[in-house]
């Protein structure tokens, strides 16, 4: 049997190896290969239709924005942005920004990048048929027009401080001359979406071996200047432990985030790796369903919040690798840096509040009122080990306060459909936030009830008006106290209890230099990373 199977196996080996064409010619001066362990594959590499973060990480290396956020993630002031495709911009009036494109910018087939590309890109992103996930963020922009070949003019529906952010952050500019014959609804399945051979650097697409790896190489002719690295390879490694083993074995160079405490410790012990901590855009918490009469009682919600020791939960589940958020935002958002008042953990106060509401201790210690036990069910996704562990701790803490928490583990898709349909008491949700604090409206503004993103159907005129005031503030100094007031109102009103925000750790091989990590997009500065000549490995040459 072995001999008879040897030939078919050899044929299979040849078939399995095929489909990998020779790479395009490598660029000259830059050197070093960054091999990134990535937990999932991209869907498509065309920014307007890419939906996963994995795809965005790759596409961002190929298709620059008009301007880039700098490391401080200041979304309000122009000083928070650096030129990219646009070498400058002017606020012509309170609702108009004109961008001057860099005249050196060329697509990798030699065609100049013009304002027509910017106009086309906006049209693609804004068209509902395209299916862009950021379309909603572009609604304040009324129009984008080409004043001349190098001037793109953005007009807004109203005056507000984050106009530059909205004009530059969400869109990556794509080539009109290669895409405008494709109907927008067909862009995702076009060949360009999986083989974006013509981009504008600082890297050029080389190969995507689906399910295995994606490779880009330095474009030394890029108007942004040659990058320090010769190539970046994203290796698809779905298992966290395997990714860390690959790092330790020298097979991979970097990973965006190690989500498990034990695996972080493994990486920390390695002499070849550097753990780079950065604030995570991720925040998780419990949202109460305000459609349920029980949770319409503000005093009860506050009592539940006071009965929870979030610090103990964070320490127990994550140790030093997470923190208690200051409210419905992560530390990445600039408004989180200021002190924000929160409901303190105070079991005595919680007990007194519940007593005063008529919830008295009954059999088994569970509080009752009018024959009804004080308790609720919490939806927890089976896909999140952290949230399941945290839910068990919360159950114990609430039990001590006389509140019965029933944990309801559900598969992620089920959790999503049930929470959007309002079919829950409370849900252990997670959010990946944008750098802008205005992102809060998407999840907690009364307008977001209709879209389903405001899971608990939280409706507060005070919150809505504080939000309107905060987003209208000019400059950080003026905006910060308004955002603080908003966060404190939210915390006092307790429509949700935010339990943890992660402290991300990127693990990166020690031979890489000039490494900085921008929290919202960890590879944003990768074009300036490099490898010292005496540190190079065979794959770096």
């Amino acid at each position: 049997m072995p001999r008879s199977l040897a030939v078919p196996l050899l044929v299979l080996a040849l078939v399995a190896c095929r489909g990998r064409e020779s790479p395009r010619a490598a660029a000259g001066a830059p050197s070093g290969t960054l091999v990134i362990a990535m937990p999932g594959d991209a869907d498509v590499l065309l920014p307007p239709v890419a939906t996963t973060q994995f795809a965005i990480h790759v596409a961002d290396r190929l298709f620059p924005r008009l301007a880039e956020l700098t490391l401080g993630l200041n979304t309000v002031d122009d000083s928070g942005f650096a030129p990219s495709l646009a070498r400058s911009w002017t606020h012509r009036d309170s609702v108009t920004i004109a961008f001057q494109l860099d005249p050196r910018a060329r697509w990798q087939d030699g065609t100049p990048v013009t304002a027509a590309d910017v106009v086309y890109t906006f049209d693609v992103y804004r068209d509902s048929l395209t299916g862009s996930t950021v379309r909603i963020n572009l609604t304040p922009i009324v129009s984008v027009t080409a004043e001349d070949s190098l001037t793109a003019v953005f007009r807004f529906a109203r005056s507000y401080p984050e106009q530059l952010y909205d004009a530059t952050y969400h869109m990556r500019i794509v080539p009109k001359h290669l895409l405008d014959t494709i109907p927008h609804e067909r862009l995702a399945s076009s060949s360009f979406a999986t083989d974006p051979a013509v981009a504008m650097g600082p890297f050029r697409f080389v190969r995507w071996d689906k399910g295995t790896e994606i490779t880009v190489e330095a474009d030394t002719a890029s108007f942004l200047g040659p990058p320090g690295l010769a190539r970046i390879v994203w290796r698809i490694m779905p298992d966290v432990s395997a990714s860390v083993t690959a790092l330790l074995a020298g097979e991979a160079d970097a990973v965006e985030v190690i989500p498990q405490r034990d695996e972080i410790e493994r990486a920390r012990r390695s002499p070849t790796l550097v753990l780079t901590p950065y604030a995570s855009p991720f925040v998780a918490g419990i949202a109460f369903n305000m459609r349920r009469p029980l949770f319409q009682d503000r005093a009860l919600r506050r009592a539940i919040a006071q009965a929870i020791d979030r610090e103990a939960v964070v320490q127990s589940v994550f140790g030093p690798y997470a923190e208690v958020p200051v409210g419905p935002i992560s530390r990445m958002v600039w408004i989180a840096q200021a002190p924000v008042r929160q409901l303190a953990f105070d079991t005595a106060a919680a007990g007194r509040a519940l007593d005063s509401l008529g919830w008295r201790r009954g059999p088994g210690g569970v509080r009752q009122r009018g024959g009804r036990r004080l308790g609720f069910a919490l939806l927890v996704p089976t896909t999140s080990r952290s949230r399941q562990e945290a839910a068990v701790l919360l159950q114990g803490q609430l039990a001590r306060a006389g509140i019965e928490l029933r944990i309801e583990p559900v598969e992620f898709a089920r959790l999503d459909s049930r929470s959007r349909a309002g079919d829950f008491d409370a849900v252990f949700f997670s959010r990946t936030l944008d750098p802008s604090p205005a992102n809060l409206s998407q999840f907690w503004h009364s307008n977001a009830i209709a879209t389903g993103d405001n899971l608990g159907a939280y409706r507060s005129a005070t919150f809505d008006s504080l939000f309107a005031s905060a987003v209208a503030a000019r400059g950080r100094g003026d905006a910060l106290p308004r955002w603080q007031a908003l966060l404190e109102w939210f915390n006092d009103d307790a429509p949700a209890i935010h339990i943890y925000s992660l402290r991300n750790n990127a693990a990166i091989h020690r031979r890489f230099q000039n490494v900085t990590v921008r929290p919202d997009s960890w590879l944003a500065t990768v074009a300036s990373w490099s490898v010292a000549p005496d540190q190079r490995l065979p794959r770096d040459r």
Binding site: R20, P23, S128, P238, S241, A242, A249, F412, R418, D453
Partner: protein, 322 residues
């Protein structure tokens, strides 16, 4: 034999049809939106989601979708992946040879090692070696596949540095290799996942083979061979083993479903870009067409494997068809 083969072929076709039908209804009846498989997609525009549902026919009644699916399958059209935006047939054609390579090598290794271990055990039946080998194979059988894979990875890749951790080829350097170098590179990447799959299967094969060998060693023809003055080794290998191999052949067919199921975990742990991982990712993303396509191919493979094993067993011992 001919009528038996036709009857078994009919049963195999029915099995495939039932697998396709069951997979279709289970996938569609499971909760969750097909277009909202991951967190990023939660921000998808409802208008676009509706348009996509219409584009993929998901707004039709379930029975209509089922009828359309069967009709498309009959024409060889497995539809388009919601996530990858490419024909499912192309994705499966890319992934299937890789899984077949992995499962094929694992099957070879499991049978090779299993038969070798069983031969040693049978030759020393009742001894400490027999007990020790029996216990060792049982341990491998009891270990969770993904855990065993991770342990092998740490030992052979991190500590010893002998074998690669993940993927199918070495990044960058693979492109600089010649044809032979590339073959060796793929083989090196294949070893750990194949070994993981093989070790889990080993116990069953070894126990089955050991039993058959012990029975054979007590048979008349073996006593006759011994009486002719043949050495113990010659008796064991040339006579007992040859006779005891026949029943093990049927195990090959039943091992295939186990290997394909095991490949889902092993491919994820080792980043092997095969059909198992594709299926796992499709289930998480509610990518119906990929789930159904993978179900169809898996059903076909299992049915063909069982059919081949039955026919082989029937050829070796016609009484088995009675």
């Amino acid at each position: 034999m001919g009528r038996y083969a036709v009857r078994r072929l009919g049963a195999a076709s029915l099995t495939v049809f039932l697998v396709v039908t069951l997979t279709f209804f289970l996938a569609h009846l499971a909760p969750g939106e097909p277009m909202l498989g991951d967190v990023e997609r939660l921000r998808a525009d409802p208008v676009r989601v509706q348009a996509l549902r219409a584009q993929f026919g998901l707004d039709r009644p379930l029975l209509v979708q089922y009828g359309r699916y069967l009709s498309n399958v009959a024409r060889g059209n497995l539809g388009e992946s919601f996530v990858m935006r490419r024909p499912v047939r192309a994705a499966l054609a890319e992934r299937l040879p890789r899984t077949a390579l992995l499962a094929g090598l694992a099957l070879l290794a499991a049978f090779g090692l299993g038969i070798a271990v069983a031969t040693v055990q049978a030759a020393r039946a009742g001894s400490a070696t027999d007990a020790l080998l029996g216990a060792a194979t049982l341990v491998f059988h009891s270990l969770p596949t993904f855990w065993l894979g991770l342990v092998l990875m740490v030992v052979f890749s991190q500590w010893l540095g002998w074998l690669p951790v993940s993927g199918m080829t070495t990044p960058v350097e693979y492109e600089r290799m010649g044809v032979m170098g590339r073959m060796v590179d793929v083989a090196r990447h294949l070893l750990l996942p194949a070994l993981t799959l093989a070790l889990v299967q080993l116990a069953e094969i070894a126990r089955f083979q050991r039993g058959a060998l012990v029975d054979a060693l007590g048979a008349e023809f073996v006593r006759a061979a011994r009486a002719r003055g043949l050495t113990d080794q010659a008796v064991l290998v040339r006579h007992a083993l040859r006779s005891a191999l026949a029943p093990v052949v049927t195990l090959a067919g039943t091992s295939l479903p186990m290997l394909l199921a095991g490949s889902v975990l092993v491919e994820s742990v080792f980043g092997w870009p095969g059909m198992g991982r594709l299926t796992h990712e499709a289930i998480l993303a509610r990518d119906y067409n990929v789930i159904l396509g993978a179900g169809l191919v898996t059903g076909l493979l299992v049915a063909l494997g069982s059919l081949a094993a039955d026919l082989a067993a029937n050829a070796l011992d016609p009484r088995s068809a009675a």
